[in-house]
Amino acid sequence: MQHVVVDPVTRIEGHLRAEITVDETNGTVTDAISSGTAWRGLELVMQGRDPRDAWAYIQRICGVCTTAHALASVRAVEDALGISIPLNANYIRNIMAATLTVQDHLIHFYHLHALDWVSPVEALSADPVKTAELQVAVLNAYRLNLKVPEEVNTEAYPHDFPAATPQYFEGIKAKVQAIVASGQLGIFAAQWWDHPDYKLLPPEVHLMAVAHYLEMLDKQREIITPHVVFGGKNPHPHYAVGGVPCSISMTDGNAPVNTARLAIVDRAINMARDLVNNYYLPDLVAIGAIYAKAGRVDGGGLSKTRVLAFGDYPLTGYKGTSNGGGYFDNLLVRSNGVVENFGNGVANATFTPVTADDLKAPENFTEGVEHSWYEYPDNAAKDLHPWEGVTKDKYTGPKTGTATMWETLNEAGKYSWLKTPKWKGKLCEVGPLAHYIIIYTKAAKGLLPDPTWAEQLMLKQIEAVTGVVGVPPEAWMPSMLGRTACRCLDAQLAAEVNKFFFDKLIANIKMGDTATMNNEKWLPETWATECMGVGLYEAPRGGLSHWVCIKDGKISNYQCIVPTTWNACPRDDQAGHGAYELAMMTTHVAIPDKPLEIAKVIRSFDPCLACATHIYNAKGEEINIISTDPYGR
């Protein structure tokens, strides 16, 4: 047995450490630790703040999935206060959310994940002529041409299309050659480039992917412009409780939103569709098909047993999530629920919905701290509902090493700053894969009456990929590859969702409705003395929930249960391992000293650790915190 540490895990957001025990005779991982190694305490910072400011603070949990926490936050506060937002605000928020999803997935695939599959060193032996031919072949075979409804297509022709000329690839290759020859490998330094996995793909695939890595690095900025128009900037665009701050006027040149501004959004939406359909999807399918045909469908882990999603994109205005509002009755993608045992085939899988009442029932959603650096008081239950949470940090250091210099972490004790979230006492995997498994299972079981166009698109996507990889969905979906593939399908879906809500926004403005804000409950004197709310969002990394308690006009408790907390959480002695740990334990490791597969399977989740590490208010419990910052200004 060999104990291997990967710390830091890079090309992710935040600070993550992995430790595995590998049987070097057969490459089996017998135990795995996933540890979030930093804690910022942002939810404590929320105490006593104005709920109308919550989005500005909590959005800053994460700059990679920026907007995700702001959206969940305003939804939570509006649920608590009983505010329904205007149609335009709902459409604009949906466009911002879907824009984030496309852009975040695109960056994840090309800039955070691609270098696990492709190598600039391998690209050096590519023939530029053959690469151009490959590009043509990939576009012919793998542009999954799935039609969706649209009011009007404003794009005359696909402006963003991959170059397929030998000269283009020659130029890219020359640049890679120059970097390698300079000895300053920069971002390409010190990777395990000699790992046998990089030999699975022909050199031309490597060169094509490296070219697209560079192109997407420059283009990703152009598809996020809806955030800049509607929210003023990115990362961290601005929001408002009760709607959106960007007023619409067709008579004022100074207005935040008018025709010229909407044209910028329109262009970004067209471009995002082009980039996904012409680059991301064909590249993903080209790489995925080779891996699937080589039998590389491991790393499924918990996704075979249990996946959770909340669903998203409210179609019209709604009033809340947990307080009798119609959030769940009004979704474009109704993936709210849990699918169990998908790994045994869809016929043996079961589906359990998640409803508004479920959110409030204390046994349904809880967090435990058995292996987390926190403690509950002696008289508290083992797991606590977010609204009733009791938390206190309790750092215990590593198994070997010192408090500030670790050797190995203690799998038998506490080892992470992440808590362990549970649904009915059980651990779940979340993310685009969960989203797709749930829709597929619901449809197969006749639980998806009158599927929306978006749900139909999802089913068509699964069918198309299944045709290419040649194995049934239950085989390819719950795997490392399936996780990465479903993220790409989710990007394609989000690109179309963007167009759908943009068309709705235009139609609504055309009807004469320019309202973007509901100010009825803006002032604290209009609020109940005490209220609670939940805000949900099917974020790029999976189901996100914010839980807020408001008392006397101020936040009295704020809690986030974040996708990466679901996935990267430490084990629970009763419920077992979380998704990262199980994924690592179901992944074959060829060379224990160069655990590329471990880094790859972790990155297939698109980790976001700053989001995941947090604690919430000790309700009725004293928290030992310093009141002044000794280094403060």
Binding site: V5, V6, D7, P8, T10, E13, H15, T37, A38, W39, R40, L42, L44, V45, R49, D53, R60, I61, G63, T66, H111, L115, V180, S182, G183, Q184, I187, F188, A189, A190, Q191, L214, L217, Q220, R221, I224, V229, F230, G231, G232, K233, N234, H236, P237, P245, I248, S249, A255, P256, Y395, G397, T404, M405, W417, A599, I626, D629, P630, Y631, G632
Partner: protein, 360 residues
Amino acid sequence: MEKRESLWEAYLRRGFSRRSFLKGCVALTSLMGFSTDMFSKVVEAAETKPLPVVIWIHGHECTGCDESFIRSGAPLASDVVLSSIALEYDHLLSAACGAPFEAHLDETIAKYNGQYILCVEGAVATKDSGVYCMSGGHTFTHLLEKAAKGAAAIIAYGSCAAYGGIQAAKPNPTGSAGIERFVGGKPVVKVPGCPPIPEVMTGVVMHVALFGTLPPLDGDGRPKQFYGNRIHDTCYRRPFFDAGMFAEQFDDAGAKAGWCLYKLGCRGPETYNSCGNLRWWQGMSYPIQSGAPCIGCSNSNFWDEDPFTDRLPKYGKLGDVDKIGAALGVLTAAGVAGHGIASIIQRNSRENLIDEEHHE
């Protein structure tokens, strides 16, 4: 900044022979996994001046600054990362991870001692010996101190590295603070903002690449060209402030017409940043243009100057702007007088700022 030298120049300085230089290149060729036909290219590279080496480390942060950096329109991120600098260590973009990545950091620090640029994103968690922010099995404090020692220049990217950031908001559970006290007294270029504007971030690096020097800094260590103006003074809605025309609430007639957001809590009058002149996405927008009051995210304590909906006089040094607003009500037509008052406000504010700096 000290002039960087090529590997050959380094050999010359140390009195090594051409033969030992070539031997070094042979070792380098095989170390990088190249076949021998690449040898001449390695020699050529070792003789020419290398790119400025950048080490980018992460403390308590959200990676929003990395993300902003790669959103730069001019220069483009790919041009910066592949042709202007050698980004040898960065948790977001670097291919490598784990032990070989940490070893590469140590090698880079040793090889380019006194020559590399250290970019820091995120605050230092100071409480309990720094255990709230661990990376590679060590505290971030340890990493920062190690990397700062050999740095030619240190750039604090974002309000977290500059001042502590959002995690330093009360009650500051992890004792988070800016990096300045942990870099052995070296000067720190502060590029605040949550995050800073993309082109401001790359602009600082471009200045170093184009001119070979750090950009001129103000008393707080901020590049003057990007932080020399208050948003209020460069805001396209400034004429409405001067004329006393304000949005009273979100989405009212004033908000639709793009009037001043001061009464909704805008921090523009106390915030030094390039949002008004450079704007985001090369002139496309900034929060105020999108109808959202500035929250002052490049200010050293913006996170505790809340509620953000409160009007500025509670925190700023403008004096009672409501009274000025009332006066302006009378003088609405007299733009010149209004401008005069605004100028007085601005002068007072600058004097206060100078006082603060003097006090520090």
